[in-house]
Symmetry: C2
């Protein structure tokens, strides 16, 4: 018997440094309403959805906290929460989190159709550097502005109205790390949700990676990790050109076979809709990826016993 | 400065139960010679290359050992080793291993151009069952005929003539397990080699997986795991219809971006050639997948602390 759920990926186009919070929130409410009008019960927004991707800038220390949310919800974002609750639609959204203790995280929450926060995640795999790279026009300073996520990978149940899927959240770079997916796979995940801001090219010209290749990387990591954990996945971009620097699009909804069932075609605000059967995960979970039958954890010790590479001994 | 190596994937078509060992060995020598004639220095053969995929049959116990090699090389396979050494070509080959102690493994070796055995691997992720499934026309009895590999995932150096790449071996089902790839990634692997025999469809009709989907699974697992570990990968099928039961083809050579640079088009004996630059791994290993900078092993404990799924607690 299928467990059907209509979901939406709400890709967002660029948000400029000077865009007002209200302007961005209005765009998000519009995307939410478009998804709800098509019957979606769960809408997935990108990473750091309420602002531009500010870690590309070396900011004045006094300026940093204005990109952060000191509570969720709060007055700046309440409009999205209120509209979603009125429409009985839940959502995933990425945001910059400032805790009462003054700690900063790159975070995401999943909110149920009644406005309850069902899950809270803090990004574990922060890319970039702490110190700015000199003489470069753009930075990737996530390691400067955020602490590493301290909540691990804690799966949770989605709303009853969604057939209570086992859900997991990731943020951007996390989706390239199979360890992160496997942590959720080992909790029986059926629906992974994640947002991202991924550079379309290296503005410093330091690499041979162009936008099609970077979009391919994003897509294939999502496809294969969904397959290898027998889960649905919804992976959503903030896309387009933010203050001169390009972000890939390619938002996608992927089935437990790793097959892309919907993918964004633009770099703008765009809604993807799919009807997903959560029970499509059962084939993989009971056969090829029946972990209890087939995994051999005593052979996986390097994964936790070392961080970096240790070359084999020279003979 | 590039470290260029010309490699070959030697896909094999079907081998029937009644095919003589000599007939199969002659085909392998022909593939080796075709690859060598095109300048390949390393030729990758499939899993269990010397025989049909015998674990599909419930064999009389007295019949089992004739599919196994009690030494490597031995008189039955010596012709391949001798021809390779004469041509100064090395190879990976999968075979059924019978040890002096009477233990059975699904194994592979990589042999250098001078005939030295550079690495030895025993398959860790055995699919299938110990007991035959009743009333089914074909079985998957790897868990019956083989012990689980006890050597772990030990990377090794390829021949100096190949620019001494850090190499890793997998066998068939292993390639779908990101833990296996990561074990090698954590040893700095630059070239993964693996063979497989993968059913093209379920002859019992129990699943919705057809041959294109199964080939896609095989390819995408290789692509994404190569990308996420910044390594080249050569993945080689035994393909075609063996005694009425189909095996997928799709042998491929994949670069460290996860891009397929060569893929088989047939289900027959077929040689793929590629010139690979081992230094193409450096981009991934020093940036996106700089493990020392970005991995967070304290969050990966479930990977070794549990084998099967533990659902999140109900609230």
């Amino acid at each position: 018997m299928p467990r059907l759920l209509r979901v939406a990926a709400a890709q967002m186009g660029a948000t400029q440094l000077q865009d007002s919070r209200q302007h961005t929130l209005d765009r998000m409410v519009t995307l939410l309403e478009r998804a709800a009008a098509q019957g979606a019960k769960l809408v997935v927004f990108p990473e750091l959805a309420f602002t531009t991707f500010f870690p590309r800038w070396l900011l004045d220390p006094d300026e940093v906290d204005r990109y952060f949310e000191n509570a969720m919800p709060n007055s700046q974002v309440a409009g999205l929460f209120e509209r979603a609750k009125a429409l009985k639609v839940g959502f995933y959204v990425g945001y910059a989190e400032l805790t009462a203790e003054g700690h900063h995280y790159n975070s995401a929450i999943t909110v149920g159709p009644d406005g309850t926060i069902l899950g809270h995640y803090r990004k574990v795999h922060l890319p970039g550097t702490v110190e700015p790279r000199i003489d470069e026009p753009v930075q990737q300073l996530e390691k400067r502005y955020f602490k590493y996520g301290d909540l691990g990978f804690q799966a949770f149940y989605g709303a009853e109205d969604w057939h209570a899927p086992v859900m997991g959240m990731l943020i951007c770079n996390d989706r390239r790390w199979p360890e992160a997916w496997r942590e959720y796979g080992l909790q029986g995940v059926e629906l992974m949700v994640m947002g991202y801001n991924s550079a379309a090219y290296d503005p410093n010209g330091g690499t041979a990676e162009d936008e099609p290749l970077r979009t391919f990387h994003s897509t294939i990591a999502t496809q294969a990790n969904a397959y290898m954990n027998a889960t649905w996945a919804i992976s959503v971009a903030k896309a387009g050109v933010e203050d001169g620097f390009g972000l890939i699009g390619g938002s996608c909804i992927v089935d437990p076979n790793g097959v892309v069932v919907a993918q964004a075609e633009s770099h703008d605000d765009e809604v993807l809709i799919a009807d997903i059967d959560l029970n499509a995960c059962l084939q993989g979970k009971t056969k090829m990826f029946n972990f209890e039958m087939h995994r051999q954890p005593h052979h996986y010790r390097r994964i936790v016993d070392q961080t970096g590479v240790t070359l084999p001994p020279k003979l």
